[in-house]
């Protein structure tokens, strides 16, 4: 697992989020998002919101938009399975919604329990009317998030960037 590479894309993504004027970052912690979360916490202009369950994040960002702020929701692919009902609200009101999803249950997965949800993530999002951008190249993550942020905030859509497990690396069961 290339730790340096991981930090690099997080930095670039963070810059993109700042440029898109993201001020609320809601998250359920995930190893793949660790650096991004750290940067969000360290940045005084960003309000980090740690959630108990991912569905809370969709609602928080609806409120953020109502109050004039843009936000992003960071989660793992399993969390996608918790937000489907709440996405109905974002869909119906056409709230912009930017989600960055680190994938599990695919490339090199060690935990079989992650596989069903990981394999269903993309189709479930699409069934909910979310536009999905998938990225497997570290060098393409930042530009993908930038495009997704535009589509979300300017185009007024729900957009998810799925960051492949190949990029975030896979955990070692023995660690």
């Amino acid at each position: 697992m290339a730790t340096k590479k991981k930090t690099d894309w997080s930095k670039d993504v963070f810059k993109v989020l700042k440029k898109a004027d993201v001020q609320q970052i809601a998250y359920v912690p995930d190893a793949g998002h660790t650096s991004l979360i750290k940067m969000a916490i360290a940045d005084n202009a960003i309000k980090p919101v740690s959630l108990t369950s991912e569905q809370e994040g969709v609602a928080v960002l609806a409120g953020a938009w109502l109050g004039g702020e843009a936000g992003a929701l960071l989660m793992q692919s399993s969390g996608v399975g918790n937000v489907i009902n709440m996405l109905g609200m974002a869909n119906e009101c056409r709230f912009p919604l930017l989600m960055l999803v680190t994938m599990r249950g695919e490339w090199g997965e060690f935990n079989p329990w992650q596989v069903p949800m990981g394999q269903a993530t993309e189709s479930v999002l699409e069934a909910s009317g979310v536009i999905v951008h998938r990225v497997d190249e570290p060098s393409e993550i930042a530009e993908t998030v930038e495009a997704a942020a535009k589509l979300a905030f300017e185009g007024g859509r729900m957009v998810a960037v799925l960051i492949g497990q190949r990029v975030v690396g896979f955990k070692d069961w023995t660690k």
Binding site: G81, N85, M117, S123, A127
Partner: protein, 176 residues
Amino acid sequence: MVSKKSKSWHWSQDVHQLFKKIGIKQIAYVPDGGLARLIERVQADKSMRSVVLTTEEEGVAQMAGAWLGGQRGVLLTQSGGVGNCINMLSMMQECRIPLLSLVSMRGEWGEQYPWQVPMGQSTIPALEAAKVIVHHVDQAEKVPETVEAAAKLAFDANRAVAVVLSQRIAGSGGQG
């Protein structure tokens, strides 16, 4: 079938009897207008334990536990509740634990409330994406036989199965 067409007949009678016949012991639900009559019947039945949930995903987990402990159960939910269950359903898939659920639809046939439409329209694709076998039924007379077939598929063939009851059967339900 003739008796089913009599005015007093309601599908929930036959489904309740079916639940008794196949040994359903646990019923988990978040209250719903379309399933209200079935819920009233099972609540009144001392041979089953009905459990009101705060959110539907709790019910999926409870059904896993029921099966692990040697009992059969049924999850009753409105279509919106399906959207709360998708992640928990992965457990049923991964462990191949039987799941029988009855889903009453909103956001489709004759819906008056726009906010119900997005989730209603994604209910079946989301279930199918989560590898749940879906039986859609839109006539009251066909509900009992569909539930019976779904129960076999669930408990005998160890699959997650949802009987999706069209809004055409239940009517447009509550206002919310």
